[in-house]
Amino acid sequence: MKITPATSQRFVVTILWLLTAITILVLLFIIVYILFHGIRNVTWSFLTESPRRMGRQGGVFPMIVGTIAVTGLAVLIAAPVGVLTTIFLTEYTRESKLTSVIRFGADCLAAIPSIIFGLFGFVFFVVVLGMGFSIISGALTLAIMVLPTIIRTSEEAIRAVPAVYREVSYGLGSTRWQMVTRVVLKSALPGIGTGIVLSIGRCVSETAAVMLTAGSALRMPYSPLESSRTLSLHFYILSREGISMQNAYATASVLIITILAINIIAYLLMRRLIAKVR
């Protein structure tokens, strides 16, 4: 019996849809499971209080502050540096041995395990530079960690911009910088934005690297030189030490809601940017 292309298409497409459905189901399962167990404990006081009795009581406010501080600082450093570096590599230099070495290096570093960044950050920032367990140690470590990712995703996005755009821009008499900012970056913005959002997500999720650079202090940090615990690390400690499963689920719920919020905001922002630019 001959299998027509139509039949094989139907077969394959069914399987593909099945795979997609399973993927979405897994995602839903994870989110629902955590929220189901945790959302009832995410009260206003949980979000605004400090933890008491090792985290058995009280809330996670210092952890929220710590997470924002470490992630915010890291992305604030890495995003502009990364995008500008990419612009330099793609638009201001000619393709040469050096640029391919740099690209290869960035590819490798984007794939290097975060634990190595943690190890480096611990030895370099915490011990050798004497910054101790602090938000700044954590932020610098995370910044170096996400920098290659931002460079690579930005590069893919910028390279995807057709050469025609650039030629037209030059043809209209623009300078290189004008061409870069008004033409290339605009078209590449969704891709660059994706890279940055991915990096933010990576920073918020990061546990091992922060544990050994930002530390795991329970108190509210009053300066970037102080140690602080991030939400991910707090969840890890609460759940692994068995201190309070209730609060562990609640912390995880806060984490998941935060990440959902980041994704939604980023998505909406991206849509607005693209719409305004068209």
């Binding site: 292309p5 999720s205 990440i259």
Partner: protein, 286 residues
């Protein structure tokens, strides 16, 4: 003109500092790690499974095997599901659905690894222990958890790459009478091949690099596994478990483990580069 020169100079400085900080970490890791590999002996370090830091024995073979096996499992799951989703999203899903599905998968990427590990411990490990045997903390569990974690990376990048394939390829193929699936696997995927491989390599890198989730579900036993239901220790777990307190030779051995990971990833990336160059060459010839 002057403004352009200033901008050029500023960009150069920024780029140089970025690149030098990346170079710094590379040099640092190698500087700390290479000496001990040479001191212990390359054969003893890579081919021995005796990891007894208190006795000065640093053999990481079992952990290399652990990492490779778990990653292989993860990438199989990640590739199958990840690519499947990417193809559905770009070729077969109606626009309205894509608007929901694509962000949904990207959310999966943002979920912290500790949450994945936690769910793995609470849901998956007991299931594996009860229905498949063994301690539950095993290669299988780790592969599944990692596969789910790697999946969004593969999908995300594959989608971007597939969408970058010129529309004319697709239109041309349909015009020639191909079905959508034929168009997909014979034309579009071929054109996007290098990008897809990059996606898989990036996914593999993420799988090899994952630490927290693996510590929670892989068991971290030092012995070589005999089946996928046996526990394993990966290179990353080893670093994480011991780096807080390791000093002197032990710490350098952990950096040396980092060097190993570096080298593995460099090899992976080189393979990816070669494949993408070859496929680009073939495409050019056409």
């Amino acid at each position: 003109m002057k403004r352009d020169k200033i901008i050029h100079a500023a960009l150069t400085i920024v780029a140089l500092s970025a690149i030098s900080s990346l170079a710094l970490i590379t040099v640092f890791v190698f500087k700390e790690g290479l000496p001990i590999i040479l001191r212990v002996g390359v054969k003893n370090f890579f081919l021995s499974g005796d990891w007894y830091p208190s006795e000065g024995k640093f053999g990481i073979l079992n952990m290399i095997v652990g990492s490779l096996v778990v990653t292989a499992g993860a990438i199989i799951i990640g590739a199958v599901f990840g690519l499947g989703c990417a193809i559905v999203l770009t070729q077969f899903a109606p626009r309205q659905l894509v608007v929901i599905l694509k962000p949904a998968i990207e959310i999966l990427a943002g979920i912290p690894s500790v949450v994945f590990g936690f769910i793995g411990v609470v849901v998956l490990v007991p299931l594996v222990r009860q229905y498949l045997g063994g301690p539950g903390l095993s290669i299988l569990t780790a592969s599944i958890v990692l596969g789910v974690m790697v999946l969004p990376t593969v999908t995300s990048i594959s989608v971007d790459v597939i969408q970058a394939v010129p529309r004319s390829y697709r239109d041309g193929s349909i015009a020639l009478g191909a079905t959508r699936w034929q168009t997909t696997h014979m034309v579009i995927i071929k054109a996007a091949k290098s990008g897809i491989i990059a996606a898989l390599i990036l996914g593999m890198g993420r799988a090899i690099g994952e630490t927290m989730a693996v510590i929670m579900v892989a068991g971290n036993a030092l012995e070589l596994p005999h089946s996928i239901l046996d526990p394993v220790r990966t290179l990353t777990s080893n670093i994480a478990l011991e780096m807080g307190y390791a000093a002197g030779d032990h710490r350098q051995a952990l950096f040396a483990t980092g060097v190993t990971l570096f080298v593995i990833i460099m090899i992976l990336n080189t393979i990816a580069l070669t494949i993408s160059r070859r496929s680009a060459g073939k495409a050019a010839k056409k």
